[in-house]
Subunit: 222 residues, 2 copies
Amino acid sequence: MAILHHYPLAASSRLIRLQCGEYKLELDLVTQLPWLRDEKLLALNPAGELPVFEDETYGVISGARVISEWLEDIVEDNFLMPEKAGERAEVRRLIDWFEGKFTLEVTRPLLRERVIKRFQSGEAASSQILRAGLANAQIHLGYVDWLAGQYSWLAGPDISLADLSAAAHISVLDYFGDIDWRRYPEAKLWYMKLKSRPSFRPLLSDILVGMPPASHYSNLDF
Amino acid sequence: MAILHHYPLAASSRLIRLQCGEYKLELDLVTQLPWLRDEKLLALNPAGELPVFEDETYGVISGARVISEWLEDIVEDNFLMPEKAGERAEVRRLIDWFEGKFTLEVTRPLLRERVIKRFQSGEAASSQILRAGLANAQIHLGYVDWLAGQYSWLAGPDISLADLSAAAHISVLDYFGDIDWRRYPEAKLWYMKLKSRPSFRPLLSDILVGMPPASHYSNLDF
């Protein structure tokens, strides 16, 4: 069975778990703590970043964007990347948005302040950074709400990697109860559809010891 | 003719100029100053980032990784992305390295300190940030030197997008004379090969007003 080196609350890792779930590829999940320098992980991926996919047949593939494109290349009957070049570009633009902009402005600073600092050094979170990250999140959620109101899915009429990438990031915010869903009705409908897919179930049972999720986190009706 | 909104010393913009050069796609270059908020650019790309490709037939495609993948999708006789899934993953891993890690640790802080601060506010560069960026660059160049010593090109026996991405970033450092090439003999041979390709020529004649390039920047024998 393929191994995925991941961290449960890392959005990039969640993207690959969701994609493998959609394609019914079973994964042996190995948790890595992103604040520790792990020599074995560095030997697999010199960039030292998660997720890392390790498979006897295919070798080692590192990085969410690289693994997700690679899975689309190898999975027969794949359906998460459209056929047409222009539509593929729109899916990739949104993945770029979440893996790039959203990560830098929201997911990474929030995870760092709340989780990494606490486990790494016990240092308190900076309320200024938390406030900035949450303010950024509102702007991004407004954009997701707008996109979700245009089509059935974020990049068009069909579900794509863009939805999985966005949902992976948003699910981490939702774990911490950061989202006032009443403000984003279209995004809420979109997220409900995703949450009720079998691929999402394993993510909804993730529990960080000492940091339980918000009460509605695993509810399909929230 | 297609338009590329770019900034001459932005490595991500250079990647697309190189790729279009390899495929002999002519571009009408429109310079955008990355430190100004340009409403027209934001209308084209809500992420507000360069490069942005604009074409009458194809519409608007934004972001270096998205444009480069899209060009590979539409160009017949493309040769910058290998056929096999595993080899494609290696090319994408290296693009991820340069567009992600190298950008955050080297290209972005150095450009910000040297160019953006100067033109935006006239503020002096922080010598501490410059030192850190240059120290990071040494580590990355050591890795490029090692990769270049393994095969003819960074991702294998054939030239690929990985070479263009790496060269785009490294060419910006070289503009400022930041690289002691004697320390990286394999990387130097690799960079000489790239520099002598016709696609590279336009980059070698870029000159920033008030900030001329290092004396060897445009020499093919350096």
